[in-house]
């Protein structure tokens, strides 16, 4: 009699956490609930971060000064996703992009739509397309996607120059 091979066993782990967003993220989420994008400014290097994390990644100091930013920015980089992600909110193909808002020093990831995917380009100017107001909650998802606006593209070196300044 040969022994049965044990290839797997189940050891489920469930934990409940009461998550704390922290002072800074709480403030950001309360603002976006009202349709406002509020970043923070570093007291040392004057870098502006949105969404803010409460600290400057360059200087490692607390950022407290709040600054409201427009919902207009520039595509810093992008990729077109063709593969579905399990549990993903958006059906492929879709464009994920690093978008840097006007006046900000750090890009964040969001979706670009409202344009043929083959026409998306680095340097393209975009504006937030907000979901209907009655669907707003404490989430960056209040912005459905960013869509192009009728403005000339920003030259690539302009993007990197600003960051390295």
């Amino acid at each position: 009699m040969s022994e049965e091979k044990i290839l797997e066993f189940e050891a489920p782990i469930y934990f409940k956490y009461s998550y704390t967003a922290g002072k800074t993220t709480t403030s950001f989420l309360n603002s976006i609930k009202k349709g406002k994008l509020v970043g923070q400014k570093c007291p040392k290097c004057r870098g502006v971060y949105v969404p803010p994390r409460g600290s400057c990644p360059k200087d490692g100091v607390a950022t407290e000064e709040e600054i409201e930013l427009p919902d207009i920015g520039t595509v810093e980089s992008f990729t077109i996703n063709y593969l579905p992600i399990p549990g993903g909110a958006v059906d492929p193909p879709y464009v994920s992009a690093n978008i840097i808002l006007d006046g900000a020093d750090l890009a964040f990831m969001h979706i670009v739509d409202g344009i043929d995917h083959s026409e998306v380009r680095v340097g393209m100017r975009v504006k937030a397309h907000w979901k209907p107001k009655n669907e707003w909650k404490a989430s960056l998802e209040n912005i459905a996607y960013f869509q192009p606006i009728d403005e000339p593209d920003l030259p690539l070196n302009h993007l990197s120059d600003e960051k390295n300044a």
């Binding site: 704390t20 002072k23 993220t25 600290s55 990644p57 200087d59 490692g60």
Partner: protein
């Protein structure tokens, strides 16, 4: 060997629930406080190392997020241990020995309030035979306490004495979570929590963070008036197979004591990382500390237990005693794993005449 010393230490107040302060906000306070103490900037730090456990936060790579608290532009030389930050200090000490760093920043952080700490600690056990049965950290410690009581090594009264002294000493520690004057009678009249342990025999659930700066002798003497030199350091781990261990002894402590030549030193004070009262008694026995050695002046972890930083805090507390001139030669101890499975011993000394 290069001579290495602790030159700065900072700790947040130890609280049951830090509320809306997140980990980054806790770390930032102590990192800046420690750097300011010796007037250094992050750019003066050659190596940064942290200790934490992602399960406490319930977020994968939470330790990477913690780096938002330190300046990492331009890029820094950094590492992390998924252990108590005392082991991050050990790694930093090695980096300095390897001449890859002269000054190192070590920090540890833990917010235990958001999750179920007793069960989360189960995840450090052997995942095939033990963890699926979900023995929690307090129950395992209770097994050890029971074995010690039945071996007539300790009594409920001697355990209560440990708690009494901890609470009393903690009165002079501004960061402590639990302190006060209690009589043995008061303590023994408290109900049993997990037999034979009462709640006060167990270290509390604590939120907080702490940071230490290490430096070579030359740097230490130029930056700090009375640095605490790490004269000897060793750590040992016992088997992860819980059933193989004799919980009433600590072979890892015995071995490390030998390696660091503990008996050659005249120890004034010891900071022992004993998350349960009976464990302090086991440590004192295995370390052969006599009655003249002052134990846990800070109150120890029964007065506040920042998970993943409590071992580092023993080293920091000993630094405070040495820096202030109250202690010349001290012993700091850190532990990890269930029932003192892994232990680190550090002899710390003042070199001031």
């Amino acid at each position: 060997m290069r001579e290495v010393a602790v030159i700065a230490y900072a700790q947040t107040p130890m609280t049951r629930d830090a509320g809306a302060q997140n980990e980054v906000e806790l770390i930032m306070q102590v990192v800046h406080q420690a750097l300011d103490e010796v007037k250094l900037n992050q750019t003066d730090i050659d190596f940064t190392c942290s200790g934490s456990c992602d399960y406490l936060q319930g977020v994968t790579f939470a330790f990477v997020d913690g780096l938002n608290a330190v300046s990492s532009v331009p890029p820094i030389n950094e590492s992390h241990v998924e252990m108590d930050a005392a082991w991050a200090l050990y790694e930093s000490w090695l980096k300095i020995q390897m001449e890859e760093a002269d000054v190192a920043l070590v920090y540890g952080f833990g917010k235990s309030s958001p999750g179920e700490l007793r069960s989360i600690m189960t995840l450090q056990l052997d995942p095939y035979y033990l963890a699926p049965l979900w023995p929690d950290s307090v129950s395992l410690a209770a097994l050890q306490a029971k074995a010690m009581i039945d071996n007539k090594m300790i009594t409920e009264e001697s355990m209560a004495k440990v708690v009494k002294r901890s609470r009393k000493n903690a009165k002079s520690n501004p960061n402590s979570q639990l302190s006060g004057d209690f009589s043995i009678g008061d303590l023994l009249s408290e109900p049993i929590f997990v037999s034979p342990l009462r709640k006060h025999d167990c270290s509390p659930i604590t939120d907080g963070a702490s940071a230490i700066i290490l430096a070579t002798k030359e740097k230490a003497l130029s930056l700090c008036r009375n640095p605490a030199f790490i004269t000897s350091i060793d750590h040992r781990v016992e088997t992860a197979q819980f059933g193989y261990r004799n919980l009433t002894s600590s072979p890892s402590i015995q071995k490390s004591s030998e390696v660091i030549n503990l008996s050659d030193y005249s120890i004034d004070a010891a900071e022992l990382h004993a998350p349960f009262s009976h464990q302090e008694l086991l440590l004192i026995k295995e370390l052969q500390l006599n009655e003249e050695v002052s134990i846990n002046k800070s109150g120890g972890v029964l007065a506040g237990n920042i998970m993943m930083s409590a071992g580092l805090d023993r080293i920091g507390s000993m630094f405070n005693l040495i820096k202030s001139g109250k202690v010349r030669t001290g012993l700091a101890h850190a532990t990890s794993g269930p029932c003192l499975q892994q232990n680190m011993l550090i002899i710390m000394e003042s070199k001031n005449e």
